[in-house]
């Protein structure tokens, strides 16, 4: 059995984003998804600092300090792009206009609760940004994360122990081992990496899975 690499995870997420979607990719791992979107699909990327139709990073020397993504990295605008202020940008999320967002996570619960903004450690400086707005706003919330922590504990848990970002908001979980749907009847396996048995996947997953 071979786990998905970060790029393979990103490619697996990209496969599930259909033609014509408006999509927001979170900071970190989800940003990689942009590199794997099929070229034959027209997919419009939203960045919450105020741009629809975001393009890839500019050529060296072409960076514009007024043209950034939510991670404050220089980006480009594609033909057909539009700029807007912050209240409009978050109306696109909260108002349910965005089809997909892809977020990283510390934990996802059996009922689709998401924890991804704060470890809750007393000395940690909390920062939330747009995570809570995306979590409850997008029509489909995709989570992309390692299946287990570095010490081997499942990041899919009966109940989140980290502070919540949103309640019951996750639609689908993409890990380095499997793709899992959050359904009213519980977590349901969509597919998994080659060479892994359902029993072995269940053993490293903190919540019962349905096939």
């Amino acid at each position: 059995m071979k786990k998905y690499s970060r790029d393979e995870m990103a490619a697996r997420v990209a496969r599930d984003i259909p033609e014509g979607s408006y999509v927001n990719l979170g900071i970190g791992l989800p940003t990689l998804v942009a590199n794997h979107l099929p070229k034959d699909r027209e997919i419009i990327l939203h960045t919450e600092n105020g741009l629809l139709g975001m393009g890839p990073a500019p050529q060296p020397g072409e960076e514009d300090p007024d043209l950034m993504n939510a991670g404050k990295q220089p980006v480009t605008e594609l033909p057909g792009a539009s700029f807007f202020h912050h209240a409009d940008s978050f109306a696109m999320m909260r108002g349910g206009h965005l089809d997909f967002c892809v977020l990283g996570a510390f934990q996802v619960s059996a009922t689709g609760d998401l924890a991804n903004w704060h470890t809750g450690a007393p000395d940690a400086i909390p920062a939330v940004g747009g995570a809570m707005d995306l979590a409850i706003g997008a029509k489909n919330v995709y989570v992309m994360m390692e299946h287990t922590t570095k010490s081997g504990e499942s990041k899919i848990v009966p109940k989140c122990t980290y502070p919540l970002t949103g309640v019951g908001c996750v639609s689908r979980i993409f890990t380095d081992l499997a793709v899992i749907d959050v359904t009213p009847a519980g977590l349901a396996l969509v597919d998994m990496v080659e060479g892994l048995s359902f029993e072995d996947l269940q053993r490293v997953t903190g919540v019962p899975l349905r096939r």
Partner: protein, 232 residues
């Protein structure tokens, strides 16, 4: 004749006093009115409440205001960044109060202030730490949190072009909080790259109508002479 042009950044901020609430535009460095913030530092006002998306980057603009310990409280969504060392130090010393607000709630609370809305129910943050102690309501089967507007004494924003009536255009993602902060403050000061004659900005292209803007200062950041003049 209505003429909102002011010769220098310092003159535009002459009536900022201790204890005021000041909104500062920008998302990171994009749209941050750094020259107005420099003038605010020179002005010397202390004990300020600052509203911004972040809590300063590197040794630039808002970060310097924090370094000078002029800020009692900051209202923001994302203070912790790789280059927010001045904020981090104050926070660890408990020398600054932090009100952490989800970014969309921050934007909508600012928008509400400028629009005369008394409060609003938002789904963002429901069931999380950031909604603890707040009034909630279930509407049509969905849970919402009651959030109140954020008003300010001053808004300092950065725009691209302005005419003497204060009509503003912006540049790319530097627009971010500018238009909503302009409406939410009692006195909005915009630093702009270029003054235009009245009528030179296509009315269809005006993003912030001049009614929301009280003072404008021309500072072409790329032109050292303009910067020096603004600081005079």
């Amino acid at each position: 004749m209505i003429d909102k042009r002011v010769a220098t950044a310092e003159a535009a901020l002459a009536d900022v006093t201790d204890g005021m609430t000041i909104m500062i535009g920008g998302f990171g460095a994009a749209g941050q009115p750094a020259e107005l913030i420099d003038a605010l530092i020179r002005r010397g006002a202390r004990d300020l409440t600052i509203v911004n998306n972040n809590a300063g980057n590197a040794d630039f603009g808002l970060a310097l205001l924090l370094k000078e310990r002029r800020v009692r409280k900051i209202v923001c969504s994302f203070p912790r960044q790789v280059d927010s060392w001045h904020f981090d130090k104050l926070y660890k010393e408990k020398a600054i109060e932090l009100e952490l607000v989800p970014q969309g709630n921050l934007a909508e609370r600012i928008r509400a202030a400028g629009s005369g809305i008394g409060a609003f129910f938002t789904p963002t943050g429901y069931g999380t730490q950031l909604a603890e102690g707040k009034e909630t309501r279930e509407i049509d089967g969905r849970h919402y949190v009651l959030e109140y507007p954020i008003h300010a004494d001053f808004a300092l924003i950065k725009a691209d072009r302005a005419d003497r009536w204060g009509n503003l255009t912006y540049r790319k993602t530097a627009r971010n909080f500018g238009p909503i902060m302009a409406a939410a403050a009692r006195c909005t000061v915009a630093q702009v790259r270029r003054f235009e004659p009245l009528g030179a900005i296509d009315p269809e292209a005006v993003v912030t109508p001049g009614i929301f803007v009280q003072r404008i200062v021309e500072i072409d950041v790329a032109d050292p002479k303009s910067r020096a003049q603004a600081e005079a």
